[in-house]
């Protein structure tokens, strides 16, 4: 073995080993460690804070909604159609139906479009075109809901009114149908971008092996890609549903806002978010009105949370089946 200090006379000389230098470095190291530990503790702290904040929002709204149950029972709150805040009658049923109707309608309109579009962009389009389309879809997704609402008022409402005239239905145009159409356009970019991502996650070899068997592009999509991506596409749909469910302003502007159970597409409806937006802020004068609207907000939040959880687990499943 080489003797330890056989330093060559070349210029490859290492640092002098002086005791002083060593203790200096140790001190420095201690300081660095302290910093590191402080950071680690603050990391934990800040994440706990975030979770606590989420809990606070949830509990805060629950706690403010609770008093309503001292007046009306839960089934009454959910299934009664009588909404007369002045007389202390708080039945949310028309609003719940309104929300469901407008959301379902939007999904029925948008889903086929979303699926077809995302399949085209992911499976057929060239890379370049896909990038350009993604840019357009990002812009569409970023348009504020009031702008959608504005376009709804200017274009969709008159269109619906005209359609009503054509088939002989009395309508102002401010209707379930108008709300559904506007909402559908709003959720399309949202669902398409998630679906596209899910479809791109399916590894290329799956496609190649199907194509190699002589399957057409469409057959490859139908029998291989869609099977692999199924739960991801469900997740995208569920997330779109959640988004539509809580959308407020655009729908509020075109849906008519009449507290009734709509019986046709051309009737006005009154979804929960619109109810809150229209009345909250001036409710302090009537006792329990506040709590009633809070319960509406709580329902919104609960449903959206459930949807988010569903989508989350569906997406986890995709990760597992594909990888």
């Amino acid at each position: 073995m080489r003797p330890k200090l056989k330093m060559p006379s070349k210029k490859w000389v290492t640092r002098k080993e002086s005791g002083n230098n060593h203790s200096e470095m140790n001190q420095r190291l201690n300081k660095r460690k302290v910093k590191d530990n402080v950071a680690s503790v603050s990391a934990r702290g800040i994440l706990i804070f975030v979770n606590f904040l989420a809990l606070l929002i949830f509990c805060g709204i629950f706690w403010k909604a609770l008093p309503i149950l001292s007046l009306v029972s839960l089934p009454e709150l959910l299934f009664s159609s009588s909404w007369h805040p002045m007389k202390n009658e708080f039945g949310l049923f028309p609003f719940i139906i309104g929300t469901m109707a407008v959301t379902l309608l939007a999904m029925i309109i948008s889903l086929p479009v979303c699926m077809l579009t995302s399949i085209y962009l992911s499976e057929y389009a060239k890379r370049r075109f896909r990038e350009v389309s993604r840019f357009a879809i990002d812009i569409l997704a970023g348009i504020p809901s009031v702008v959608y609402g504005l376009c709804g008022v200017l274009v969709i409402v008159p269109l619906v009114e005209f359609m009503g005239e054509l088939i002989g239905v009395q309508t102002t145009g401010y209707s379930l149908l108008a709300g559904g159409i506007v909402l559908a356009v709003m959720v399309i970019p949202f669902i398409v971008s998630i679906s596209m991502e899910v479809l791109r996650m399916v590894p290329e070899p799956y496609r190649e092996s199907a194509l190699a068997l002589g399957a057409t592009r469409w057959e490859t999509v139908k029998y291989v890609v869609l099977k692999k991506a199924r739960s991801g596409l469900i997740a995208a749909t569920v997330l779109g549903f959640a988004r539509a469910f809580g959308e407020t302003m655009a729908v509020l502007m075109v849906v008519g806002n009449v507290a009734q159970i709509p019986t046709s597409l051309f009737d006005a409806a009154y979804p929960l978010p619109a109810l809150i937006a229209n009345n909250y802020g001036e409710v302090m004068s009537i006792p329990l009105y506040d709590a009633a609207l809070m319960s509406a907000a709580f329902i919104l939040m609960l449903v959206v949370t459930l949807f988010s959880l569903t989508a989350h687990y569906a997406l986890l499943k995709v990760g597992k089946t594909i990888a």
Binding site: V50, L116, Y148, L150, P273, V304
Partner: protein, 282 residues
């Protein structure tokens, strides 16, 4: 064979129709807003506040809303950034167990999905509790709440794309976790972090439901944090509903400005992504 080809073609045609439909929707929205907005947009629209009440007064412009939105977004974006960056960095696996980090991610995703009207309601409850009126401060706080989950998750995605080998390189030099985080991870994820901020800005500036009760609306430009403040999305919402054409024009102008901001933001996000990418290792 013929049937198979036919099926393929039918579906392909449907797909192209759908895609064209989506593009048409985008083009239609841009056109409607541009046509309506451009005809109502002029200099006095941008630099004057409304005269005689924003709901009925025929004179004046939307300077109150433009400046108001600017104030709101400057405050909310800054606050949200200050909160989001540490949260996103803390989500790295070096600091906490994967389970806790993943749980927090899920919570943030749920918050992201929570309708903005719920944030508005929550913000209002807190403000009533504190004895505050609708104000610039209230609006800023609620918009911050709305933007934080978006910003954190987008930053988190960017941070997770930092190659493990690169972190490993830093650790191999004997760096601590914080040193690695700030010297390496932050630099490498910078384009993604900038994009995250811009993305959240885009969401925040267009949101009306959350500031409906919390920021209020006014004809004037606020002079303190406790004054109510006007905003572009609410300028659209309130002024479209009047019967007065001059007031509606203000709504169109506000909508056009919002739309332009959103498009510009999308473009900037892309360009900034490249510029900050100078030191990025691919």
């Amino acid at each position: 064979m013929k049937k198979r080809k036919l099926e393929e073609n039918i579906f392909k045609a449907l797909m192209i129709i759908s895609l064209l439909g989506v593009f048409a929707a985008l083009a239609g929205i841009i056109m409607v807003v541009a046509v309506k907005g451009l005809s109502s947009l002029n200099l006095s629209m941008i630099i004057e506040t409304p005269k005689g009440g924003y709901y009925l007064g025929k004179e004046g412009g939307i300077a109150n809303a433009i400046v108001g939105s600017l104030y709101l977004m400057a405050g909310a974006t800054t606050l949200a950034f200050i909160i989001s960056l540490p949260v996103a960095l803390a989500l790295q696996k070096e600091y906490l167990s994967k389970r806790f980090a993943d749980f927090t991610r899920l919570v943030l995703d749920i918050l992201w999905g929570t309708p903005s009207i719920v944030y508005g309601v929550f913000g209002f409850v807190i403000m009533v509790y504190l004895g505050m009126r609708a104000s610039l401060l209230g609006g800023i706080v609620v918009l911050t709440l709305l933007m934080v989950p978006i910003m954190v998750r987008a930053m988190d995605e960017a941070i997770r794309l930092v190659p493990f080998e690169m972190k490993e390189m830093a650790y191999a030099l004997g760096t601590t976790r914080v040193e690695t985080t700030f010297a390496v991870v932050l630099k490498q994820a910078m384009p993604g972090i900038v994009t995250a901020v811009i993305l959240a800005f885009g969401r925040g500036i267009g949101d009306a439901a959350s500031i409906l009760f919390t920021a209020g609306y006014t004809d004037d430009i606020p002079t303190s944090l406790l004054d109510p403040v006007a905003s572009l999305p609410l300028a659209v919402f309130f002024q479209i509903g009047t019967p007065v054409p001059e007031v509606q024009a203000r709504a169109y102008a506000a909508a056009l400005i919002l739309l332009v901001i959103v498009i510009v933001i999308n473009i900037i996000a892309r360009i900034l992504g490249w510029r900050f990418a100078r030191h990025i290792v691919r």
